[in-house]
Amino acid sequence: MEIDELYQTIILDHSKRPRNFGELPAPARKGEGYNPSCGDEIAVFVGESSSGTIEQIKFTGQACAICMASTSLMTIQVKGKSIAEALALKRTFIDFLMQEAAPATGLGNLQALGGVKKFPQRLKCATLGWHALEGAFKGRM
């Protein structure tokens, strides 16, 4: 069934047991994402190393399975990356979801969200955590 492409096993797993769930204390950076059409909220906390890489990352929030899993997988995938690399990955991920034949380079398990291509209404869910991440790079807590 098509629904199984959306909710792949790894997605259901990450939505039920999100990794890196929780808060980071200041001076970690915090970014928030909000989806007005469903009320979903995600907050992402980022702690940087002195060299500017993402050393620590956690998130909290109330959201659907797609959003929870996407954010959980994101935290795994961006840890250790520089801010520039993380933002590039965000671009790759969004292109992957929105464009027919976009490459999945560097996405790793995030490819499991490919089912969203067939459910454009869920695009916002799949990207909410990423917008929160970008927000974290902008404001200090």
């Binding site: 069934m1 098509e2 629904i3 959306l6 909710y7 259901l12 939505s15 039920k16 059409s37 469903c38 009320g39 979903d40 909220e41 109330q62 959201a63 659907c64 399975a65 797609i66 459910f119 209404q121 869920r122 869910c125």
Partner: protein, 411 residues
């Protein structure tokens, strides 16, 4: 099976229902968001455009006379539908939202000032909440809320009298049927109480006008609003009923053609009657289609539709209650055909997306009741809402799919 009687005889009137979605027959349970259209309404809109269309009011030629007659007949039809004394008390709007904005703007600006209180309930749709926040901000009036208690959504209406007596309440705006709780407010008692205290009332009938007998004389309200698309009518059209005495000296809302009696380069004078509130070319085809829809509903009979609604609502409540981890909003009995719920920890979006794979159309979200949801500690619920074309077996299919969803998402 008795209550499938309406669906037996009338489901076939709705072309859209006869389709498969994701391989399964469509089960349309999103009627609180928008209802579907019987062929007679669709055909009448098309007939209008094919035979009679022209601009209204200003015209003498044959098509324009026909269009004008159809448009004004639609007004008379809406007046009949609401039991209004006079056609002049019917204003066509885009929908419930515009109707409330019109009152909040035109009536609010003239009759509200610092110290005055606008009273609404905590269960209002954003359409009956934000316009009052804005009116309060603009006029210096204060917006107050009648609290809603618990998941059942109980409002203690017996406190109303004290609220009225203790403070300068000018207006009470409240919904007839809550679009997320499914509860039914006792409109005529409330309006009588308000009238005794000189308080103006606005009834949001978006969820009731097409679902039960709604008679403005019996309800005793001053304003009442509803949307065509929630009662088998076209999109882009709705009705604002206004007590003729209040309308008589109400300022216009929008300005342009058809609402003026005389214009100079310096100033303008307004027409009397409903046209004062209908600036510009109206949604003629919408009014015509709405009249067909209202006549269609009254041919079926709103008491019968109400019975069907309540039966499906109660049945859905009962059967959904059997699911483990089920939390249903709104009262157990005396409920409309609107059932919002939270199933275990499954997010409403996931549930609705899952149900869609089996052809079941539901809403998931805050249903434009964000503050209420927050108060109840919820972000979103799934909502199944019924109309007379729905069947008991559709409820069974819903329950079955929710069981599968529980297993799927591993509650």
């Amino acid at each position: 099976m008795a209550t499938d009687l309406l669906a037996c005889t009338h489901r076939g009137d709705f072309p859209v229902l006869d389709q498969k979605v994701n391989g399964s027959p469509l089960v349309y349970l999103d009627n609180a968001a928008s209802t579907q259209h019987p062929a007679c309404v669709i055909d009448e809109i098309a007939r209008y455009y094919r035979e009679d269309h022209a601009n209204v009011h200003r015209g003498i030629h044959a098509l324009s006379s026909r269009a004008t007659k159809l448009y004004e007949d639609a007004r008379a039809c809406a007046a009949r539908f609401l039991g209004a004394d006079s056609n002049d008390s019917i204003i066509f709007t885009r929908g419930t939202t515009e109707g409330i904005n019109l009152v909040a703007s035109s009536w609010g600006t003239e009759h509200l000032g610092p110290g005055d209180i606008i009273l609404i309930t905590e269960m209002e749709h954003h359409a009956n909440l934000i316009p009052w926040q804005m009116a309060a901000r603009r006029t210096g009036a204060t917006l107050q809320y009648l609290p809603v208690h618990g998941d059942e959504g109980i409002i203690d209406w017996s406190l109303l009298d004290r609220r009225f007596k203790g403070s300068p309440v000018r207006l009470l705006a409240f919904t007839h049927v809550s679009n997320s709780l499914g509860c039914i407010n006792p409109v005529s008692q409330i309006c009588a109480e308000a009238r005794r205290n000189g308080v103006i009332t606005l009834v949001d009938a978006a969820q009731s006008a097409g679902h039960a007998p709604v008679n403005v004389q019996e309800l005793g309200c001053d304003f009442l609003v509803f949307s065509g698309h929630k009662c088998c009518g076209p999109t882009g059209i709705g009705v604002l009923y206004g007590n003729p005495e209040l309308l008589a000296d109400l300022a216009p809302y929008q300005f342009g053609g058809e609402m003026i009696s005389s214009v100079t380069y310096e100033s303008a004078q307004w027409k009397s009657g409903p046209h004062r509130f209908e600036a510009g070319t109206p949604h003629i085809a919408g009014a015509v289609g709405l009249a067909t829809a209202l006549d269609y509903l009254d041919k079926i009979g709103r008491p019968a539709i109400q019975t069907s609604d309540h039966h499906l609502g109660r049945l859905a409540y009962e059967r959904l209650s059997t699911l483990p981890g089920m939390r249903i909003l709104g009262p157990k009995t005396e409920r409309a055909g609107i059932v919002s719920f939270q199933l275990g920890t499954i997010h409403a979006h996931d549930l609705v997306a899952y149900a869609d794979q089996f052809g079941i159309a539901m809403r998931g979200g805050h249903h434009c009741n964000q503050p209420l949801m927050r108060k109840l500690g919820l972000h979103a619920t799934a909502r199944a809402s019924f109309y007379f074309y729905n069947t008991e077996s559709e409820i069974d299919r819903l329950v079955d799919v929710l069981h599968r969803a529980s297993r799927y998402f591993g509650v």
